[in-house]
């Protein structure tokens, strides 16, 4: 790995200023960035660690019932601290990778990276969350823009994520046992005004909403409502771990399981 400068600011303002330098990059838990740098796929000249910024840490409830999570909060902390208010989200966090990955990896890093097989993008899109940055607020529906691509601008930091808490929700992850990522993952959330279904691990365009299932489940929140619905395999990822058809099939199976577990 090439060398770089290392900074660990204590405030968001200082982090934004440090990220103004050319080829500077934010460092969350490093669970994705370090492996990427080892392969020289990323070669920042400066790393700005976000882990010392107190205002980006932790989970808290808002007056409107939503849940705010600091952008530098680790998966392990979300698993522990969101369990009472948003159990489906805490459960998702508690199954990311393995204990050591959860102790370092952060929600902001996961959402910024937008790996097509990552878990948090499904939770954010499935909950209709708001991604809060140092500059603005972005609705999840506008935030995810394809494989490893998001609405974030250069140097923009995810300072937090605001999750509306649904009446019922569940995440089903079909584990790819070697990587521990999702081979396919489905997040189902039932709100008073309708159901959202977000699918990760499956599409060539990254996380997406399965709108046909959303309509069927909004009419009747039961596993049977999904019977007969089928995602078109054409746009699915196909690799040695699973064909396009297999992934498309799993989406239906996991959606039913998620609805059964949530209701």
């Amino acid at each position: 790995m090439y060398n770089f400068e290392f900074e660990k600011p204590a405030t968001i303002a200082d982090a934004v200023a440090a990220l103004g330098a050319e080829d500077a990059q934010a460092l969350g838990g490093g669970q994705t960035l370090l492996p990427t740098m080892k392969q020289r796929l990323a070669m920042p000249t400066k790393l700005v660690s976000l882990s010392g910024i107190g205002e980006m840490q932790g989970v808290c409830s808002n007056n409107d019932g939503s849940l705010s999570i600091g952008g530098a909060t680790t998966h392990a902390t979300v698993a522990a601290e969101a369990a009472a208010q948003y159990p489906a989200l805490a459960d998702l966090a508690s199954h990311i990778g393995d204990p050591a990955v959860r102790n370092r990896g952060t929600i902001g890093g996961s959402l910024a990276n937008n790996d097509p097989a990552a878990c948090y993008p499904a939770a954010a899109l499935g909950s209709g969350a708001t991604i809060v940055t140092n500059a603005r607020e972005i609705a999840a529906d506008d935030y995810f823009q394809g494989l490893f691509t998001t609405a974030l601008e250069e140097g923009e930091i995810i300072t937090g994520v605001r999750f509306p808490v649904p009446e019922a929700a569940n995440y089903q992850k079909f584990l790819q046992p070697a990587s521990r990522f999702a081979l396919v993952g489905v997040f189902v959330a039932k709100f008073a005004d309708g159901v959202r279904v977000a699918v990760t691990g499956a599409s060539e365009d990254g996380v997406f909403r399965w709108s046909e299932a959303e309509q069927a489940l909004s009419a009747s929140f039961s596993p049977e409502a999904v019977n007969g619905l089928q995602v078109d395999p054409a746009n699915m990822m196909g690799d040695i771990h699973g064909t396009k058809e297999y992934r498309a099939h799993l989406i239906g199976v996991l959606t039913k399981r998620a609805v059964a577990a949530a209701s």
Binding site: N3, Q31, M37, A76, D98, P99, A100
Partner: protein
Amino acid sequence: MGKQIITLTVNGEKHEVAAEPRELLVHTLRETLKLTGPHVGCETSHCGACTVDIDGKSVKSCTMFAAQADGAEITTIEGIATPDGMHVLQEMFREHHGLQCGFCTPGMITRAYRLLQENPNPTEEEVRFGIAGNLCRCTGYQNIVKAILAAAAELNASKEAAQ
């Protein structure tokens, strides 16, 4: 981009070391501090052979820069034995044949050490889930799980006896 001085408290002993920002913690531990317990297996955050305990949490030391650990308290396998002898986990790994080649063992025991503090009375399933980030190419895990469960029972029994 030169070396920075960082402070690490490792197995109770405070060290000031000079490290380039790109230096991985596992290399600082092995090469500067000569603590060769944490192994480098994959260096891609998959195998867990490099697992150490940082501020009370299991971490893969190949996926952390030494600079990120500045100020931290670290425990490696070298710090787990007591002055009176081996830790119960080490005893149980021996008794139950929880190792063959031994390459995964320092990481495995360091992880199990933390697991039993997070959950002193785990089920077999919880042990397996708890060591999911530590791979073993030899044992098939059966005896590792047995050893950890036996250590938990032993630790709980001695806690009860002390009360």
